[in-house]
Symmetry: C4
Subunit: 220 residues, 4 copies
């Protein structure tokens, strides 16, 4: 994994090869995304109707799909970020760790939101915590990206023009707006809050899947 001669050399001086960082991060992404399934409960066979019991759990199924897509999309973006690097330093490692901390938190905030969405108490807080955790994840991503592009441009594999750096960062920051809105609107309606998070996930996923889109657009 990036143990070839030249990346290794660079890693020797600057702390770790990007391939290594990516492999570890991918592990955390893959585990967090797969742990989401633990939030789905098998209804007790001795208690009534299965269809009704599963129907009652619909927020959990929606939450599973939304969080799965959300982690998947941040994984795609994370890959694009790491791919631009030729080396990583300690600051990058720590910021990336902070990002992973919020990624790994999502199975919890997802379960919390699903458990409270239809309750008459705590539903606003739970939805706020859910969209808030998406916001913090996006924020950690933007900060990490900014670190690589602005604070430590020496880590970049090839020079990136100022205009391009600004464009990349602006896109990362623009991605925070819906999450911030969702977090704020949780006090009004938990459904609206979660709906915005779902829309963000679908927006990044669907249009491209349909095809015809410029394939490079997603990777920057």
């Amino acid at each position: 994994m990036g143990r070839g001669r030249s990346p290794r050399r660079a890693g020797e001086r600057l702390g770790m090869s990007p391939g290594r960082l990516e492999a570890f991060s991918d592990g955390v992404f893959a585990i967090a995304i797969t742990l989401l399934v633990l939030d789905l409960q098998v209804p007790d066979p001795t208690e009534g109707n299965l269809a009704a019991a599963l129907g009652d759990q619909w927020p959990s199924f929606v939450a599973y799909a939304v969080s799965f897509l959300t982690i998947g999309i941040i994984w795609i973006n994370h890959h694009a970020m790491i791919r631009r690097l030729k080396a990583v330093d300690h600051g990058m490692l720590v910021l990336n760790l902070l990002l992973l901390l919020f990624v790994a938190l999502l199975p919890f905030t997802t379960a919390l939101m699903a458990a409270y969405l239809r309750e008459s108490s705590g539903e606003h807080l739970a939805a706020g915590i859910y969209s808030g955790s998406c916001l913090l994840m996006g924020l950690a991503f933007a900060v990490t990206n900014r670190y690589a592009l602005i604070v430590r441009p020496g880590l970049l594999a090839t020079p990136v023009s100022d205009a391009r750096r600004r464009a990349i960062l602006n896109r990362a920051i623009a991605g925070l707006v819906p999450y911030a809105t969702a977090t704020a609107l949780a006090v009004v309606s938990p459904y609206v809050s979660v709906g915005i998070c779902a829309a963000v996930a679908l927006y990044y996923a669907l249009p491209f899947a349909v095809g015809g889109q410029d394939p490079t657009a997603a990777s920057t």
Copy 2:
């Protein structure tokens, strides 16, 4: 991981190297397959006979083996699919994510099926959900495969003849028939439904393991 010169270049333009996509997908496959064990319950030592309690759980053991093989086989097929690619675009990433969503769901539908298989209520629905989730997984696989072979042939590492593409896709689609049958037959008998899923897993696993088979047959 595929960070060599030429695949990297291709990845630069088209979004992500196949090696990266495969490593992440393998992570999800490996985690989902290993999480299946969490469906097995340790009987309470204070409550009666261990042998009887484990015997009572036999659907869980059968379900563990069937789902383990099922995920293992989709993993083998997934590898064959990715191996044909020289690059992946955003559409491929999202379709692959959809496939992984159903793979990661299997520990839940497996536990559900095992919990209800011998019940007198909900057993048809649980078996239908189980074979249905296998069907959706197979469908997502066929769609992803079709995308790579037909919609975006530019992603292929080497040109694949039309006849060969049709053969690969037909095989993927043919693989859906037993799962569709199993899902439909769940209304008749949950045992028949699950039995078909088990037969599919054994069919793909056993004959080759005995040996004498053309080793290339499995990889296409």
Copy 3:
């Protein structure tokens, strides 16, 4: 991961590169070994003395260490097996999947054994299941190894002499004897049964760790 020119070519013909198989298997090993920790219970703070409650759980701690080492050692041996290959075919994939099925089962049989070790009912069965699952894991390993060395020698990266093949297989089979003994002795005493499994783990781990040993001995 083994995407270099020549191994890729071989993989093209024979199904999958050994590096890919190894990475997936390593994922399952790493997850199974880490899931063992889920068998350790945090005692309820509202119920009496923590030291006593943890002391009561000692079989779980011993079981954690023994199974951790056991999976670790099979992982080391697995690596040595895969390293001898230049390609894998479908039979190899399926046998390897069977091996992983028993590896992934170990967190369950470990928890079962730990829960029943000191009970007055079910303790023999639980210990027998535990050592039996170690036996089946070792058996699956021996069968997979035999497949690569005898049934499909064409998969080997470099020719291995007949004497050496026999030596490797004999060692794998000799490793089954203590597990078979442990399984049989579970009817006599669960402690003896589990003690043998612990001794096997320590035997393979300790002497070498002390140093002075020929480093190549472990890798064959």
Copy 4:
């Protein structure tokens, strides 16, 4: 993964390539760090106020962050250790396994500490076990590092001067002092004990994240 010609050759003679060991270890690190989230409980919606229930759980959130950073930092140091090697022998594998055993234990000791931190009974023991498990993890790391640097210098990729070896080991041993202090002080105050562990995590993470630091300092 290190399957290139020359590292492979070295691995052939000495047991396993460092890349393979690192990938497996990274898997365990990634899983252990992500399993920490399972310690966070979703409060029962039918029981009172969500905000209060989450507030009551604050030790779990603090524990999550501290242990996440702690595992993250040991992962960074582990990478630096492995990077110095050109091969690993059996002793190295077993010592590394011991290190991973303590890493994988952390989700348990973290949950234990968080559950008891504010209790009036067992809180000293729980905090002592938590800092003690950090101490054992650090100790296993120092022993593994010493093995590679002093006992088996032949495993090193490039010769490391005596002064440098001593400096690396001294740093690893110095890192044990705060954990030993935290373990000892658990009898006085669980808060002080856990506070020291938190301070260690922050000390290694924060200063560098702020920037301006020599990026190579972290990697040795």
